[in-house]
């Protein structure tokens, strides 16, 4: 064969594996949560060096022994990294990177070796495992985008591999063999027992390889790879589609995702500023009308997540058992939620709670409120709160995630708090907080208790500078001092639109350290972010006797017109104020159209001036990619749209169809498996199962012991009849001779050769006065000829001779025994 062509084939295959290794390491690194470029850079460098110096110019290579050491070191390094991340660093992404390293470091070593079939096989296995790690850690669309090219590369590489392996199988001499430890042991241990076939071949065959066979034409390979790769992807899609999902939102989640985003539990001016500088996406929010069409909102929505009612006035303020620092908002509420929509409801069943919710919604509708279905899709990195746009109700269709709602605080939370790490959360709620495409500021509420009212008026009484500032505002304005709603609106207008205050994230040191930060903001700084404005507003309201609280959430403005959803980023986090009013106080205000027949309302005030003068809904930049990412998450990674009862399964999942039956059976099977009741219906008893397993294990052990006995105790193995001397089996006449001689107590030890044994047997017989020199010698020499020589079988003369010689030996032995 033309070795140049074979080398080209190897080079091409190496190049394929190198590119796959780059892409796979890129996927692993980009999905592991930590932006570590070490592994992709390492593998890129190693493959490049290996390709040029090991494979192309053949100037350097790692020998087997060095490679084994390097491999061991690489493994130890990766395991060390894993242990460090497990016990010291406690970083899951770090652990995953260690696992990736466990694959990538050995890959680098393999690339540095002279390639042969085994090296290629090992590389393929490592690369496949790396793809698994990539699938575990990388849930972003990069995986989806790279899947097709990687698949085509794999197919093309396997094309080359099949050609190469075929040629190697026909003519193993075309490549350099690296002897492996297992092979060496096999040769040493097994072949020494079996013996090698040293007989010359009757015929030798020469393979005449044509040039076409030895090289792979790129164009043809590409043309063949594309349909096969695409076919595999189509199959994968179908398979993915048809694999039954056992419930909504069961699939998904990447390993190693750390919760890096979210709202703070304690609101300080510093951490809010940090949050507002982070452009990382947090969630997507979709608003739909009852008809299912996208709702057209006029202004950016307020997504409510948390409440704060206590403001820390000094550095040692205490609230219950908690220490609240100066300028920090703290929540003293405890949630008393009820299940949204009552207990899990099933279609067609009467559910009192749900019925009551539906009546309430109907009441809202009768007052001109729109009922919009709001879908929240929280990213896996997001940790913490659930969002609401109050007043909210259970969605039309049941969902996997059970939600509870505190109607007093208008806060939402999941029923079970054990949200999986790295798993995205998606949920829907019905909201009656909209009217004519705009979110209403006034929200009907339950009457707060007196204690709550007192608490919502506290904290700012002794802020004298603030009080003077408040009086100045009120004095400057010509509003009715008795109209609380008018006062509140004036504060909001003054802070947001008077021009005396500006929005900034560039926080400066307090001008007057004796003042509270919020007083300093109102009197001196007059620039800050939303928390300053909201706190100032709350301060002014409370000083004016209006119960108020700080609300935290998001106010997104980026709208994706392709998917009709808002993309919410961390920098969209926002704080605003809610103030409590009665119907009577609002009936003559601009909020009268938003009122229902309820008596109590929370009215939202947003005193923060818009950063760019005006905050309006704008089209998202690069929305196509974001939309693709959304589809990837929904249909592939999270799979919430692939639940068995999803609409897309309608073509195959009629209630009577085989598919539905299969889904039911699999669901039952998995449930039973998980609950440990799989075999209960067959009268399965665990004690018997354990006993059977123990007996099975013991039997296996005994069998293994029997298998190993010939190696550790060959005499015992022979005595027990576990093994028979292979030579005896092959040549019964010699076996018979040995058997005859055992009558005299002459036994051949496993370590003695037949010739040595013959000599010792002759001596014993001579001692007993019998001479069988010729016979034993004949039998032994014939045995040697047949066993080790070129002679394949006995001639007829030999056959007749063997019989007579054996009988001679037998007679001699009998006589020796008698004597």
């Amino acid at each position: 064969m033309d070795l140049t062509k074979i080398k080209n084939l190897r080079l091409l295959l190496t190049a394929h594996f190198a590119v796959i290794a780059w892409l796979a390491s890129l996927l692993v690194a980009s999905g592991a949560g930590e932006s570590s470029l070490l592994l992709p850079v390492l593998i890129f460098f190693c493959t490049l060096v290996a390709f040029v110096f090991v494979d192309l110019t053949e100037r350097f290579e790692l020998k087997s022994f060095v490679a084994a050491i390097a491999m061991t070191l690489a493994t130890v390094a990766a395991i060390g990294q894993y242990v460090y991340c497990l016990f010291v660093n406690e970083s899951e992404p770090g652990r995953l990177m260690a696992v990736a390293g466990l694959l990538i470091y050995p890959e680098a070593v393999l690339f540095m070796q002279r390639k042969n079939l085994r090296i290629f096989e090992q590389l393929a296995i490592f690369l496949l495992l790396e793809m698994i790690v990539a699938a575990l850690v990388n849930t972003n669309i990069l995986f989806g985008l790279l899947l097709a090219p990687i698949m085509l590369l794999w197919v093309s590489a396997l094309f080359l591999f099949s050609r190469y392996s075929t040629l190697v199988k026909i003519d193993p001499s075309i490549e350099v063999q690296h002897p492996r430890l297992a092979e060496i042991l096999f040769k040493r241990m097994v072949k020494s027992v079996l013996g090698e076939n040293k007989k010359a071949p009757l015929v030798t065959s020469n393979f005449n390889a044509s040039t076409d066979v030895q090289s792979s034409r790129t164009m043809r390979r590409s043309l063949q790879s594309i349909p096969i790769g695409v076919g595999a992807l189509v199959f994968a899609s179908l398979f993915f589609y048809l694999v039954p999902r056992l419930g909504n939102n069961n699939y998904g989640g990447a390993m190693g995702v750390q919760s890096a985003l979210g709202l703070p539990e304690r609101m300080t001016f510093g951490n809010v500023a940090k949050m507002l500088e982070n452009p990382a996406p947090v969630m997507r929010v979709t608003f739909q009308n009852e008809s299912g069409s996208p709702a057209q909102l006029q202004t950016p929505p307020y997504l409510r997540a948390g409440l704060f009612d206590y403001y820390g006035r000094s550095s040692n303020s205490r609230q219950g058992s908690s220490r609240v620092s100066k300028g920090e908002w703290y929540s003293t509420y405890s949630l008393t939620p009820t299940k949204l929509g009552g207990k899990r409801y099933a279609p067609g069943r009467i559910n009192a709670a749900r019925e009551s919710e539906q009546k309430e919604l109907q009441r809202m509708r009768s007052h001109g409120r729109d009922a919009l279905e709001v879908q929240f899709e929280l990213r896996p990195e997001f940790k913490g709160a659930m969002f609401a746009v109050p007043p909210i109700f259970a969605p039309r269709q049941k969902q996997d995630l059970d939600l509870s709602y505190d109607r007093r605080l208008m806060l939402l939370q999941p029923d079970s708090m054990n949200q999986d790490q790295g798993k995205a959360v998606s949920y829907n709620v019905l909201s009656a907080g909209f009217q004519n495409g705009s979110q209403t500021a006034a929200t009907p509420a339950l009457q707060p208790s007196d204690g709550t009212i007192i608490r919502l008026l506290a904290n700012f009484r002794d802020f004298r500078q603030a009080d003077i500032f408040r009086q100045e505002i009120l004095d400057r304005s010509k509003i009715d001092q008795d109209s609380k709603i008018g006062i509140a609106r004036e504060f909001e207008r003054y802070l947001a639109f008077s021009g005396e205050f500006s929005y900034t994230l560039d926080l400066r040191a307090p001008t007057d350290s004796d003042l509270d930060p919020v007083e300093d903001f109102m009197i001196n700084q007059r620039a800050g972010h939303c928390q300053y404005f909201a706190t100032a507003m709350a301060c002014l309201l409370r000083q004016s006797g209006i119960p108020s609280r700080l609300v935290i959430g998001y106010r997104p403005s980026e709208f994706n017109t392709l998917g009709n959803y808002f993309t919410v980023r961390q920098k969209d986090a926002h704080a605003w104020v809610e103030a409590y009013f009665t119907r009577e106080q609002l009936v003559n205000s601009i909020y009268r159209d938003q009122l229902t027949d309820d008596e109590h309302y929370w009215v939202r005030f947003d005193p923060t001036p818009p950063p760019d003068g005006e905050l309006s809904i704008k089209e998202q930049d690069g929305q196509a990619i974001d939309f693709a990412e959304k589809l990837w998450q929904e249909y592939v990674v999270e799979g919430q749209n692939l639940a068995a009862d999803s609409g897309i399964y309608d073509p195959v999942s009629d209630s009577d169809s085989q598919y539905s039956e299969m889904v039911r059976q699999i669901r039952d099977f998995i449930e039973n498996l998980r609950s440990g009741n799989l075999f209960s219906k067959f009268g399965f008893a665990w004690p018997i199962a354990i006993l059977t397993m123990i007996i099975g294990c013991i039997a296996l052990l005994i069998w293994q012991a029997f298998m190993f006995l010939p190696k550790i105790a060959p005499r015992w193995a022979l005595r027990l009849g576990i093994v028979k001397n292979e030579m005896d089996l092959e040549h019964p006449f010699y076996s018979k001779c040995l058997k005859v001689l055992t009558r005299l107590g002459i036994q051949r030890s496993p370590s003695s050769t037949p010739a040595e044994f013959t000599d010792s047997a002759k001596e014993v017989l001579e001692e007993k006065g019998q001479s069988v020199d010729g016979s034993v010698d004949f039998l032994t020499s014939l045995y040697y000829r047949l066993r080790f020589g070129r002679q394949e079988s006995m001639t007829s003369t030999e056959q007749s001779e063997v019989g007579s010689q054996l009988s001679r030996v037998e007679k001699a032995v009998e006589q020796a025994r008698k004597s």
Partner: protein, 422 residues
């Protein structure tokens, strides 16, 4: 009694017919089974499937969508591999072109023609593997294989490839059945199909070089006919026929028209008025000595060389008897076709202990009666006296008595002066 017998015969016949049908069905099932395209995973495929199982179990337990997607793609590749393997091999036919005979030690080319009858699917990277085993003399050695590889066979097309064989020992060899196999496209699995297309090739004994002394050996044999051996180079005699050219032939004897037609040098052979009669008997006795096999081969090779050379030169008459496991006698070998027959018999001759020496000699009685000289090439010492003593057949005894026998014992090295053989 008669009725009982007939009942027994009837039931026995029924059993026999059922048994025959069962056997026929078994044969048919076996043939069909062999012709089916089989599929198995290669070592790489086993690794691949192991990882696939790992992924799938992981995907189900951890409920990770991307792993399901990955598993789906891998299953897809496996299914494509299986479909391609099986579809490619279905319907492929193989025609093997192999010479009827060859000589041990000479390289022999075997041409394989692969035909793809399918209308749309090409066959890629198809490997044709012929099992090669010696049938006669029987051998239990491991089979060898002859392999040819085809890059592409287009739909409704044909491709040819070849492999070369070098037989080291004489005999009758079986080539086939052919196993067609392919790992295309991904090497994860291998499809194979066995074709029932065995053929045989006779491997003639390796020929050596006759030394100058061999002519003296026959000269002595021809004492009494000394006149007949005189032959002038220019006196060709009457035209007898055509034969292939052999070393030593005069250029003037070349028959150019036939040479042009056959593309092979042919010479005219002339009727020799006075030819030597060479009568040789090969006595292939198995002496069960270690060097016995080598002696047998030397003796066989000598006879083969002698027959081929004598007929090629066309000067002398030769008669050959082979006393081995199957005895045969050729009283008059005149053409290369007859030489081929002799070589065939020599190729499969096997030494035995009960050689039918006298029977073989009786087969040569015609040339012996004409020229009562016999050259015996044997693997043992002269046994004629013993044979004469034991002979009970009067005609054979007379034959033995009247024949002047020259006995060459190969095991004693008596052949070495006359024949060089490696």
């Amino acid at each position: 009694m008669a009725s009982v017998d007939s009942t027994e015969e009837g039931s026995l016949g029924l059993f026999r017919s059922i048994w025959r049908k069962l056997k026929a069905h078994r044969r048919w099932a076996r043939a069909r089974n062999l012709a089916h395209v089989r599929f198995r995973l290669t070592r790489e495929g086993v690794h691949f499937t192991g990882i696939l199982a790992f992924i799938f179990i992981g995907a189900v337990i951890r409920e990770i969508s991307l792993l399901i997607l990955l598993a789906g793609a891998m299953i897809g590749l496996l299914i494509l591999q299986w479909r391609f393997n099986t579809s490619t091999l279905v319907g492929l036919t193989v025609r093997r072109r192999v010479p009827r005979s060859t000589t041990a030690g000479r390289e022999t080319e075997v041409e394989i023609k692969l035909t793809n009858p399918k209308a749309w699917l090409s066959a890629w990277l198809v490997q044709s593997e012929d099992k090669i085993q010696r049938k006669e003399p029987e051998s239990i050695r491991v089979q060898e294989t002859g392999t040819a590889l085809f890059d592409t066979v287009r739909p409704k097309g044909m491709a040819s490839s070849n492999y070369s064989l070098q037989f080291h020992e004489r005999g009758e060899y079986t080539l086939g059945p052919t196993v067609l196999q392919t790992r295309f496209p991904l090497g994860l699995g291998m499809g194979w199909r066995t074709l029932d297309n065995s053929s045989t090739i006779i491997v003639h004994p390796r020929q050596g070089e006759l030394t100058q002394k061999v002519s003296s050996l026959f000269h002595l044999e021809q004492l009494g006919q000394a006149k007949s051996s005189s032959k002038s180079g220019n006196q060709e005699g009457e035209f007898f026929g055509l034969r292939p050219w052999a070393s030593g032939d005069s250029k003037r004897w070349i028959h150019w028209r036939t040479t042009a037609r056959l593309d092979k040098l042919s010479v005219r052979q002339f009727e020799q008025q006075q030819q030597k009669q060479i009568t040789v008997l090969l006595d292939l006795f198995d002496s069960s000595e270690e060097s016995s096999k080598e002696h047998q081969e030397a003796a066989i090779s000598f006879i083969a060389t002698l027959a081929a050379r004598t007929v090629a030169l066309g000067q002398d008459k030769i008669a050959i008897g082979i006393a081995a496991n199957q005895s045969s006698s050729y009283p008059s070998i005149l053409s290369s076709l007859m030489v081929q027959n002799v070589l065939r018999d020599l190729a499969v001759a096997n030494a035995v202990t009960d050689v039918d020496f006298l029977g073989t000699m009786r087969g040569l009685s015609v040339p012996i009666l004409t020229h009562p000289q016999l050259l015996v090439v044997s693997t043992r010492a002269n046994i004629l006296p013993k044979l004469q003593d034991e002979c009970e057949d009067a005609s054979v005894e007379r034959l033995l008595t009247m024949t002047r026998v020259r006995w060459i014992d190969v095991s004693s090295g008596e052949l070495e002066p006359y024949f060089q053989w490696t």
